[in-house]
Amino acid sequence: MSTTSPIILVFGAGPRIGTSVAKAFAAKGYKVALASRKASEANNTANEIHIQSDFADPGTVVNAFSQVKASLGIPSVVVYNGMYRFPEPRWFLSLSL
């Protein structure tokens, strides 16, 4: 029984980093679970599920894992993007790193 797909769970799967990560891992044969505030189950497919979660409540993280386990299986890769977008004041952009 070694033909089951590996699973990735991405927290904070916004329109930028979340979907990039999902695409990259899907290309490697992973099934994908995306958890975010705006996620909607209506977008679920056989290989990609969406879990509505608000990380201001840590309990939703536990729920997300339960849902993934029930729908797809135990994730072998977990990515947590807690807070990715932030304002970019002009001085911030001028920082030299």
């Binding site: 590996p6 927290f11 990380f55 939703t60 993280v61 386990k69 135990i74 072998s76 977990v78 807690g82």
Partner: protein, 135 residues
């Protein structure tokens, strides 16, 4: 994430500080915890990789973003601790900072690169000991 006046970081409301700490650190801790419980049930061949998206605030201070900096520094510590402790079990815990080495105005183009690096991390033997200061 709630910005504060650059010259008055301590004016940040406690309610905002707590909420953002939950988002950046407490929930991340729970995710790391849950991930480990799951990894223990997977075969040796599984990737068993946890990646936290940090940012450069592990090492420098950006004045209007105090609570983001606090959360990410705290979680970086959790990641570093987990990386060392679970290494022998083959679990990889990594703090990934997509902004390191890139001009901040090029945020969009680093997404795909970040994603590719994460895939590479998942197949790597280990993440090395670079988890504190970002990959």
């Amino acid at each position: 994430m709630t910005p504060n006046p650059p010259n008055d970081p301590l004016s940040l409301q406690l309610a905002d500080f707590n909420k953002d700490f939950n988002i950046n650190t407490v929930s991340a801790f729970v995710a790391a915890q849950q991930a480990a419980t799951g990894f223990a049930q997977l075969p040796d061949s599984a990737a068993k990789t946890f990646i936290y998206t940090g940012n450069i605030q592990n090492t420098i201070i950006i004045p209007p973003l105090l609570d983001l900096g606090v959360g990410k520094a705290a979680t970086a510590h959790i990641i570093q601790s987990a990386a060392a402790a679970y290494k022998d079990r083959g679990y990889k815990y990594a703090n990934f900072c997509p902004f390191i080495g890139k001009r901040l105005t090029v945020i969009g183009s680093t997404m795909a690169t970040s994603a590719r690096l994460m895939v590479r991390l998942s197949t790597a033997q280990s993440t090395g000991m670079r988890t504190r200061s970002c990959i």
